[in-house]
């Protein structure tokens, strides 16, 4: 193992910020969900990297649970997208401003 822990954390931070740009800028709910997945995965990498540094399996368990929660989040998000499609609403987060104060 010649690659240091900081490199893994740096890659994780870069991936997280790329995903953040997608969540902030994109307007299609589907692409926002895809960018969210990028963010969640980068955090998983951080958890596993720290778990490897400590030498315990706690961080890996945490990463697995994050995966499970991400699956639940995707199911709900995609269910909303399907419901919006069925009601013939526009799939554009800028247009969906009924709850906007």
């Amino acid at each position: 193992m010649t690659v240091g822990l900081p490199l893994f954390l740096a890659i994780s931070a870069i991936l997280f910020s790329i995903g953040l740009v997608g969540v902030l800028l994109r307007r299609s709910p589907l692409t926002i969900l895809l960018s969210l997945e990028v963010m969640l995965n980068s955090v998983n990498l951080t958890l596993v990297a720290f778990s490897r540094e400590v030498g315990g399996s706690d961080g890996q368990i945490f990463a697995l649970i994050v995966m499970g929660i991400a699956a639940a989040e995707v199911v709900v998000g995609l269910g909303l997208v399907v419901a919006m499609t069925r009601r013939e609403m526009v799939l554009d987060t800028d247009e969906l401003r009924t709850l906007n104060g």
């Binding site: 953040l20 299609s28 368990i61």
Partner: protein, 204 residues
């Protein structure tokens, strides 16, 4: 050797993440996310987390991405409507804020002193070790995740299948009835044709 694999995998991960964010077509975005997941699995393997890497491929690339692609295909070209560009100042502000977060973390991470990599047990990261931890120390978290997944599945069905679809106007109702009547007529005539053909076949 490790460092070569690391840089290849992380370069691919960053390139595919940029593709996920920048592509107009959600289908291409989803496929780029697939590449991102696979290169992240390589990084996880470098960290000796075999089971998490396998779960990453099976759960994400196998299950979640199929669901994504299915919904993108279901929604069709409508999902590209929202891909319009933002105002330039919004783009710059978002990129600046995100870049600041990344730079902040990178500065902190390279300035901090970490311990060396720990010496590993022989079974570190194997399914046996993870499964044992999951079934003993983390049993409560495991059960809570399964309940949350079940609730999410119910919610997905309620959102996707439940609810009232748009009411048809009277003209559309008439058109639909005419269409189904036409179809019934066509099926009836086909049944008659088949019957005659069968009886002729028996006669010969």
């Amino acid at each position: 050797m490790d460092i070569v694999v690391f840089f290849i995998a992380s370069g691919l991960a960053i390139a595919s993440a940029v593709a996920v964010v920048a592509q107009k077509n959600p289908f291409v975005s989803a496929l780029a996310l697939l590449g991102n997941l696979v290169s992240l699995a390589v990084l996880l393997l470098l960290l000796s987390a075999q089971f998490v890497a396998a779960a990453q491929i099976i759960v994400y690339a196998g299950a979640i991405m199929v669901m994504f692609l299915f919904v993108i295909a279901y929604v069709g070209p409508r999902s590209e409507i929202g891909a319009g560009e933002r105002k330039p100042w919004q783009v710059w502000l978002a990129v600046l804020a995100s870049a600041l977060i990344a730079i902040e973390v990178i500065v902190v991470v390279f300035g901090a002193t970490f311990g060396d990599w720990a010496d590993l047990d022989g079974d570190y990261g194997t399914p046996a070790a993870i499964g044992k931890a999951l079934m003993t120390d983390y049993l409560l978290a495991f059960e809570v995740v399964s309940v949350i997944l079940f609730m999410a599945a119910v919610a997905g069905v309620v959102f996707g299948a439940g609810g009232r679809p748009r009411r048809l106007s009277d003209d559309e109702v008439q058109a639909k009835e005419a269409e189904s009547a036409e179809q019934r007529r066509r099926e009836a005539s086909r049944a008659v044709l088949d019957a005659t053909r069968d009886s002729m076949g028996e006669g010969a």
